[in-house]
């Protein structure tokens, strides 16, 4: 029944696999670069989020997608001064949604990748803010211009990054 609502062909809904070193190394590298490269511009770029989206979409399986998101988010939380779990929860949901979306929509062309990442950055930011304000008692402010700029930059970066990461896919 899924195929009736899917916008993808059978070939497009192929589930990709990755080797263990890639599955572990790429997320760790993303977190490492995010915290190690002290470049101001990189702060607007959320490499761990992009990696989460990529793996979730490529695997097209919700449970591995959300577990990947949860692990990456939790590791990212460790470097912030906030309670651990803010990024974890946000990236868990993004991982789940990404893998669910990957089943239904063609997410391998640059345009859809840009739009998908743009939307996921907004969702990620919204979930983070909601948890921060409602559960943790944070005092963050939603700044539309900055959030949209961040979504735009990450969307563009995703097009380039995903194309590079495609090379690590193991095809059957």
């Amino acid at each position: 029944m899924n195929s009736s609502v899917s916008l993808t062909s059978r070939e497009e809904i192929e589930v990709h696999r990755f080797s263990w070193p890639v599955s572990i190394g790429i997320p760790v590298l993303a977190i490492f670069l995010q915290v190690f490269l002290r470049i101001r511009f990189l702060a607007i770029l959320d490499l761990p989020l992009l990696v989460t989206i990529f793996f979730a979409v490529a695997r097209r399986r919700p449970i591995p997608g959300m577990i990947t998101g949860a692990l990456i988010g939790t590791l990212q939380d460790a470097w912030t001064g906030h309670p651990i779990g803010l990024f974890g929860i946000a990236k868990t949901i993004v991982g789940y949604l990404g893998s669910s979306l990957g089943v239904k929509v063609d997410v391998d062309n640059p345009g859809s990748r840009f739009l998908m990442t743009f939307a996921f950055v907004l969702i990620h930011r919204f979930i983070y803010m909601a948890i921060s304000l409602q559960l943790v008692g944070g005092s963050e402010a939603w700044i539309w211009s900055h959030t949209l700029l961040s979504a735009l930059v990450n969307g563009l970066a995703a097009v380039v990054l995903f194309a590079a990461l495609d090379k690590f896919k193991l095809r059957n």
Partner: protein
């Protein structure tokens, strides 16, 4: 039932994972009242310790390697024109030496004045240099990681500075690294003062990583370019350190009569490489007081006023009855810090004894019975119009005590180590009689 779980396997797994994470998050969130009470909860999360500990060695290697090549290149580049620079530096040293002499005199004077005001100021005595090895990597948290931890004596809430200005404070400490909350984080705050207008406020970070001071009334005049320095009131940052400069002041839309003052940080918080962690601060007033030069205002006063004649412990009581428990020293004790009641004439000097002021009676800390004191007081009685200027005890108050009261026997801490038993602190002359009109 089995069908239900297999059908909704994915959403149920999502719910389960989210539930676990929310519960884990809830255990870290403090109640407002416990946060106010300074309860720091269960400390640093293990996951945070593990992650930082795992990443730190790799980062240190990268930072060290990069630094090695960068410094190698800089060393080579610096050799060019080093002779000319050396000559210029020698001239600068000579100028600074002269400047130092002048500043030392000013500093001595300032210390004396501080002691007179009983003003306590902390100054830095020990710092630990540290290298920045990581950041939080997000805009939601302005945090850096430095390569010094508890092994190097770093503790939470220590101030972190650069020569340009303050950077932040230590938040979490691990064995080999620490996390520093920058002053432009929205959870951060520091007590500041505007250098010229002397307006005080709290500088905070904004969600965009800017610095601003709020809570200053809009009728105050704040000019762009004015320096902002630490006030020292937060007990974290030492007083007088650069925070930044004012770049603009606008009315606060949320709090109408107040201003929002934007600050440009003195330290470049986006390009921090090396910082100093203040691990030890000393109490300036204590060190100043222990030095030979400073004197208390009361000491100066007591030297300028006539002193009390030496008392004779065997002298008989005066008929007026104002003798037995009358402390010989003063009619108006000068209260000092630590709830001590100290007569200016008997202030203890470092080195023991009663210092330059004459002890009015040797004793063990109890109120001495002093006929000389009685005599002195009698003289006051005899010369009511004199105001005690010539014959009254050294620090006698111009205002006589209106009625007879029971004298306290001894100051509460008269026998503390600061106060040797052989030189008792005089107690207030609470039962001094009112002079006849």
């Amino acid at each position: 039932m089995e069908n239900f779980f297999s059908r909704y396997k994915n959403p149920l797994a999502l719910m389960a994972v989210l539930f676990i994470q929310v519960v884990a998050l809830a255990t870290q969130v403090k109640r407002p009242e416990s946060a106010r009470a300074g309860n720091t909860g269960s400390g640093t999360r293990l996951i945070r310790v593990w992650t930082v500990t795992a990443f730190t060695p790799v980062e240190k290697v990268f930072v060290s390697t990069g630094r090695f090549f960068r410094e190698g290149w800089h060393n080579y580049a610096d050799l060019r024109g080093i002779r000319q620079q050396n000559r210029a530096l020698q001239d600068e040293v000579a100028r600074l030496q002269m400047e130092q002499v002048r500043l030392k005199q000013d500093a001595d004077q300032a210390r004396r004045l501080q002691v007179l005001l009983d003003f306590k100021e902390n100054f830095i005595t020990k710092t630990v240099p540290a290298q920045v090895i990581a950041t939080s990597g997000t805009e939601q948290s302005r945090l850096i990681t430095i390569d010094k931890g508890s092994h190097d004596g770093i503790k939470p809430d220590m101030a972190v500075i650069t020569p340009d200005g303050i950077v932040g404070k230590v938040k979490d400490v691990f064995r080999l690294s620490s996390q520093v909350l920058l002053i432009n984080d929205h959870d951060s705050g520091a007590g500041v003062i505007l250098e010229h207008s002397r307006l005080q406020g709290i500088v905070k970070g904004t969600p965009l990583g800017e610095l601003q001071i709020d809570g200053i009334m809009s009728d105050e005049k704040v000019e762009a370019g004015e320096r902002v320095i630490t006030s020292g009131g937060d007990r974290i940052y030492p007083k007088g350190y650069a925070v930044g400069t004012v770049i603009g002041a606008t009315p606060d839309r949320d709090n109408d009569p107040f201003l929002v003052i934007k600050i440009k940080p003195a330290a470049d918080l986006n390009r921090l490489e090396e910082v100093l962690v203040i691990t030890e601060m000393a109490d300036n007033s204590r060190s100043a007081a222990s030095g030979p030069a400073p004197m208390r205002a009361a000491d100066i006063l007591s030297q300028r006023l006539p002193s009390v004649p030496k008392v004779d412990p065997n002298a008989p009581k005066t008929p007026g009855g104002a003798t037995a428990n009358v402390p010989a020293a003063t009619a108006s004790p000068t209260p000092t810090k630590g709830n001590k009641l100290v007569s200016p004439g008997t202030e203890q000097k470092p080195g023991g004894g009663a210092g330059s002021a004459k002890p009015l009676a040797a004793g063990t800390g109890t109120a001495p019975t002093s006929s000389s004191a009685s005599k002195a007081i009698t003289e006051v009685k005899k010369q009511p119009g004199s105001g005690g200027a010539t014959a009254a005890p050294a620090s006698a108050s111009p205002k006589p005590t209106p009625k007879k009261t029971k004298a306290p026997t001894v100051a509460p801490d008269a026998t503390t180590p600061e106060q040797p038993a052989t030189a008792p602190t005089a107690t207030p002359a609470a039962n001094q009689e009112k002079p006849p009109q």
